[in-house]
C-alpha cells in the first residue's frame, strides 16, 4: 500500500494505517529531534507532538509535497518551539544548566572537546544551527532542507557554510 492510500485510510480512522505511516517516519523524526535537542525526553515528546499534529491536520495535507517533507516540517517547527521554551526556562537557571552540561558529558572520550564544541553549536543562531545539524549530522540534502524549512536551496547551503565558518572561528584553538 502506498503512502497516498495509507493517508486516505488514516483519514477514515484506520489506526493500523496510521501505525504504518508512523513506523516509516518516526525513527528519523526522533533522531532529528534528538540531534537538535540532545535530550531523549524532549525528543520523545516532540516526536509524539509531531505525529499528533500531523494526524490531526492530515485532511489539510494535499499531497503536493512528499509526506516525509511535510512531517519533517512539522517536526522542525515543534522541536524549535520546544527549544525556545526550554531556553526561556534555562535562562532562569543558568547556573544549574551549566553544571548539568558538564556532568552530562561524563561518558565522552574528551569531556573538554565535547563541551567546547557543544557550547559553540548552542551559541549559533537557530537558523544556522538547524541547517548544520540537519545537513552535517543527519545527512539531509540541501534540497530536503530547503523543502522542510521553506527556504531556497542556496540559502540552505549558505547557512551550513556560515555555521561551519562560525564554528571554525569559535573553535580555532582546537587546531593546535
Amino acid at each position: 500500500m502506498n503512502e497516498a492510500q495509507l493517508i486516505t485510510r488514516v483519514l477514515a480512522g484506520d489506526r493500523l494505517a496510521g501505525r504504518e505511516l508512523y513506523d516509516a517516519h518516526a525513527p528519523r523524526v526522533f533522531r532529528l529531534a534528538f540531534s537538535m535537542t540532545r535530550d531523549e525526553e524532549i525528543a520523545r515528546e516532540c516526536t509524539q507532538d509531531t505525529f499528533v499534529r500531523a494526524f490531526s491536520k492530515l485532511d489539510r495535507f494535499r499531497q503536493e509535497a512528499a509526506f516525509s517533507t511535510w512531517i519533517h516540517r512539522i517536526a522542525v517547527s515543534t522541536v524549535l518551539e520546544a527549544l525556545r521554551g526550554r531556553r526561556r526556562a534555562a535562562a532562569r537557571f543558568v547556573g544549574i544548566e551549566a553544571a548539568n552540561d558538564v556532568h552530562t558529558q561524563e561518558n565522552s572520550h574528551d569531556v573538554e572537546l565535547v563541551s567546547r564544541v557543544e557550547k559553540a553549536v548552542e551559541e549559533l543562531p537557530e537558523i544556522y544551527r538547524t541547517a548544520l545539524i540537519m545537513h552535517d549530522l543527519e545527512g539531509y540534502t540541501h534540497a530536503a532542507i530547503a523543502d522542510v524549512l521553506s527556504i531556497p536551496e542556496g540559502t540552505s547551503k549558505t547557512r551550513v557554510a556560515q555555521a561551519r565558518a562560525k564554528l571554525r572561528k569559535t573553535l580555532a584553538t582546537l587546531r593546535d
Binding site: Y22, F30, R44, F51, S56, R62, P125
Partner: protein
Amino acid sequence: MEEEHLDELIRRTLAESRRSPEPPLDEMWAHIERKAFDETPRRRMVVAMPARWSRWTTPAIAAAAALLIGVGLGWSVAPRGSVVTRIVTVPAQSVATAQSSAPKHTEVPATSNASTDANTDASTDAARTSSRTPRMTLAHSTTTPGTSDRVAQQPTVGLLANRFDDSEGNDVSRYLIRTAALLQTLPAEKTTAKSDTAIANRAAELLTQTHLLLDSRAGSDPTLHRLLEDLELVLAQVARLRVKQSGSDLQLIHQALTVRDVLPRVHDATVEASITD
C-alpha cells in the same frame, strides 16, 4: 585543508555527543494513538495542537483577515481589549456618509453553522446591492456573542470567522510569507537607492497590515502577538530606509532578525496557521 580537518573534527564530535538512542516506538505510538485517535473526534482533531496555538486562534485569525479586507477604518476607532465586533443592521440613509468605507461583510443567520459558499456569495451580492436594502455597519461591544438574546439575533463576525477558517487563515499565512520573503531578500549592505525604496515601500505596506493584525483578536494570541510586535519593529526599521539610507541601519536590521529569531518564528507561525503541503 586545515579547515576541512577542523570541520571533520567538529562533525565527529557532534555525531558522538548527539548520537540518538533507540527510539521508544511503541511507547510513543501509545501516546499518539490515544491523542490522535481516541481523545479527539476526527473532525475536531485540530484541537489536539499544542497549547501555544489556542483554540480560538483560528476563528480569531479568520476574523482578523475578514477585517483586513474592508474594515481598516472601522478598526481605527475601535476600542482596544477583548472587543467583539458585531454587525448591526441599520437603515441605509443613516450610513450614507460611511458608504465609501463600508465593509463588505455578509449577513449570516445567527443559527447557521454550516459553511456554504453559496450563502456567502448570495449575501455578498446582497451587500453590493444594498442601496435597496438595509446596510451593514460595524458596532463594537464587550458582549460575548451568544450571551444575550439581542446579540444572538445579530449576525456576528465570529460566525463569519467560523465559516472562513481555511481561506482566511491562508490570508494570515500569505501576510507572513510576504513578510518572510521581504526580510529574506533584504540586502546585507546598502544597494541602490531605487531598490532600497522599493523594499521600504513594501515594508511600509506590511507594517500597516501588522498594525491591523495587532489590533485584531488574532493579535491577542500571546505567541502571535509577540511575533507581530517583533515584526512591527523590524518592518518599521526597514520602512525607514525610505528616508534614511545607511549601511549600518541594514546591519542593525539583520542583527535584530538574527537575535530575535524572527525568520524561524515567522516560518513556524506560517506552518501553524496552515499546515498544508
